[in-house]
Amino acid sequence: MNHTLSVLVENQPGVLTRVASLFARRGFNIESLAVGPTEREDWSRITLRVDCSQHSIDQVVKQLYKLINVLKVNEMTSDDAIERELMLVRVTAQPKDRADIIRLAEVFGGRVCDVGPTSLMFEAIEHPDTLYAFEEILKPYGIKELVRTGRVAMRKATTERTRSSRMRVLA
């Protein structure tokens, strides 16, 4: 089962390693990882996605809280959070095909950001699932290069109060 964790940490050297090593020691592969600044200069937010059992993720969350530099951990689901990822993709595009591909890309929110003699580069900021669909559509044209940032997530306002209490079962 896939889980998205949003980990608020102190912005200090070595913190990412401490967090990542909790997953590595269990043999869990981090499928997506995004680290960046937050509303406060001395905090960073690590958003990561792993595939593991619910029991494992509960255990990892508790272990994360034991790291001195970790301030807050939230597990998010697609239902209660907005999830976005940025993708850059360069696709083969002969001049005659350009118009077709660009129109297709618009359906997925893809925007042209570079044009080469036989290629186009798109950027898209979407839900990760949409990006996968976009990628599938581009494949027949020939994808030359692709990079994604790893997903970031933020809880929706409506669920802010009803936020799952599962993470706080501990009395």
Partner: protein, 596 residues
């Protein structure tokens, strides 16, 4: 009855230091140690840590430094001190090999939740990452085995870092904290003041058990017919042994004490059921397995206690009280979790329970206690005194001969450790110091030295194996040079006995690489070469005399007990087996008819 605790209930050694002003980072480290009330530390100097050692010689201070012979010894001595006193142990090593030699004791301290502050030298900042001479990525190597670590990159951070390090090591669930200090930083100067307070955003260790959960737990105990207190080393770390005694007295139910908790509740107390698990007693394991309620107190359902998890205490509801939320429902689902300090939770639980009692709402546990008593009476630990000298006999003689003395025991890891746990009677907290989680051979000698340096007036006995002893025997030099009279009792069976036992039972007696040699080295001569007293006993008749001679000599001492190499530790729950089904000597199997 209340357990007498010779250690102050909540040791707070911190002193207000008056030292302030301009000084080097190295001197600042010493002032930090003074401010934390550190009276002793253990270590070995080297290039990267030289500024600190220079400061030890240059400035006047109150921190005694003990020069050891191997950094592993420094770490285990700091552990022995910490476990005996409940205070933070401090050890020091240089960069590279000094640091890597500290890995084993730090991992040991991590698994057994022992408070340590570990100081390592590091190569100068401009060389970090260049594979410089004696460079190791120390914070990287230690990351998974410390509670927290610091690489100091600004000399002005030293006071804050140490204030935090001691705070983190000693509060919440205790553990080792590493402070890695590059050489150039130690040589720079700062204007020193020690912070009064400590503010760590992501660290809030002091928790109060939720009152509703405490009430629910009291209700569950009241309603239960077959409750057991399952007590772990957390009780010692929480300095809550008196609170435990009061609680146990109030609820009057059997108390199981894990290896780490031995002594946390007096072994001779009528309610004490003692050691559960792989080499625990039948009655302790049956008590756990037949219980309808486990009141888990600072214990963690370790596999050496539970055996196969699915079959462990199948009919029991679980109350789990721990300061560490990560232990709750880790191995066994907790029906009533309580996260909080035992020193607060246990009295609250006692009060809640007494309230129910005053309302006459307690279900009788009489039958259950009678049942446990019957098991205890019919199935004690036993061994046969035939053939060569038995370790169990030696344990019984230590137990009986020194019963009136204040004795701290340490152990190595192996058969002798299990027999020590089975046969010694420990009546006071912090008087049985063993490597439980990591199972570190070589722990006994230095741990005994550390404990003895904490309490010079007590008798300290290290119950060691011949294999274990050889792993840290060089610390006899430390013992002799500081005149630390701990007794190192080697239960010399000439084998890596515990491994041999597994080979005999589970590997068709293929004794692959487990034969040592009882005569290699000659332990008496080895002791003498170090300037220690060397004694030997080969028969039962000789045992009492050497024990008394060793105790009365007040000198560092090694006793070579020549014991049966073929004796096995029983009963035994085979690894991964159900702890309700123990195996035993063929002659001691009549219990099967009682089998649970």
């Amino acid at each position: 009855m209340s357990a007498t605790n010779p250690v102050p209930a909540m040791p707070d050694a911190r002193k207000r230091t008056t030292t302030t002003g301009e000084m080097t980072g190295a001197e600042a480290v010493i002032r930090c140690l003074e401010a934390e009330g550190v009276d002793i530390c253990w270590g070995i100097p080297g290039g990267a840590i030289l500024p600190l050692y220079d400061a030890f010689a240059r400035v006047e201070h109150t921190v005694k430094h003990v020069l050891v012979r191997h950094e592993q010894g420094a770490g285990h001595m700091a552990q022995g001190y910490a476990r005996a006193t409940g205070r933070v142990g401090v050890c020091i090593g240089t960069s590279g090999p000094g640091a890597t030699n500290l890995v084993t004791p730090v991992a040991d301290a991590f698994l057994d939740s022992t408070p340590l502050v570990v100081i390592t030298g590091q190569v100068p900042t401009h060389l970090i990452g260049s594979d410089a001479f004696q460079e190791a990525d120390t914070t990287g190597i230690f990351m998974p085995i410390v509670k927290h670590s610091y690489l100091v990159t600004d000399v002005r951070d030293i006071p804050r870092v140490f204030r935090e390090a001691f705070h983190i090591a000693s509060t919440g669930r205790p553990g080792p904290v590493l402070v890695d200090i590059p050489k150039d930083i130690a040589n720079q100067t700062l204007n020193f003041t020690y912070p009064e307070t400590v503010e760590i955003a992501g660290y809030k260790p002091n928790r109060t058990g939720h009152p509703l959960q405490v009430e629910a737990a009291a209700e569950a105990i009241a309603r239960s017919r077959r409750p057991v207190l399952y007590v772990g080393g957390g009780v010692l770390n929480a300095h809550a042994t008196d609170e435990l005694a009061t609680f146990a007295e109030a609820v009057q139910v059997p108390v199981v004490t894990t290896l780490m908790a031995k002594g946390a509740f007096p072994d001779s107390h009528p309610l004490c059921v003692g050691l559960p698990g792989m080499h625990g007693s039948k009655f302790a394991n049956w008590t756990m397995n037949k219980a309808d309620l486990l009141v888990t107190i600072g214990a963690r359902f370790d596999d050496r206690v539970t055996g196969k998890l699915d079959t462990f205490a199948p009919g029991a509801k679980i109350i789990h009280i721990d300061i560490d939320p990560a232990e709750i429902s880790k191995n066994r689902h907790a029906d009533i979790p309580i996260v909080g300090e035992l020193k607060q939770v246990l009295p609250a639980l006692t009060a809640s329970y007494l309230e129910l009692r005053s309302q006459d709402r307690i279900v009788s546990k009489r039958e259950w206690k009678d049942q446990v008593e019957e098991w205890r009476f019919k199935h004690p630990f036993r061994y046969r005194r035939v053939g060569p000298l038995k370790t169990q006999y030696v344990m019984e003689r230590f137990r009986d001969l020194l019963a009136d003395r204040d004795v701290i025991y340490t152990t190595g890891v192996g058969q002798h450790q299990m027999w020590a746990a089975q046969w010694l009677k420990i009546e006071r907290p912090r008087h049985f110091i063993t490597s439980g989680g990591l199972g570190t051979m070589g722990f006994g000698v230095p741990a005994a030295i550390g404990a003895q340096m904490a309490f010079p007036e007590k008798t300290v006995v290290n119950i060691d194996g011949d294999g274990c002893f050889q792993m840290t025997a060089q610390e006899l030099a430390t013992a002799v040079s500081y005149n630390v009279p701990a007794i190192h009792a080697i239960l010399n069976n000439g084998w890596l006995g515990m491994v041999r036992q597994w080979q005999q039972l589970f590997h068709d007696e293929r004794y692959s690489e487990t034969l040592l040699n009882a005569n290699l080295p000659d332990y008496v001569k080895l002791a003498e070469a170090f300037g220690a007293l060397g004694l030997r006993a080969e028969t039962e008749e000789e045992v009492d005399a050497v024990i008394m001679q060793a105790v009365e000599s007040r000198r560092p001492c090694v006793i070579d007990f020549r014991v049966d190499h073929d004796e096995k530790v029983y009963p035994m729950v085979p690894a991964g087996g159900s702890s309700a089904e123990m195996i035993d000597e063929p002659w001691d199997n009549e219990w099967v008819e009682d089998g649970v």
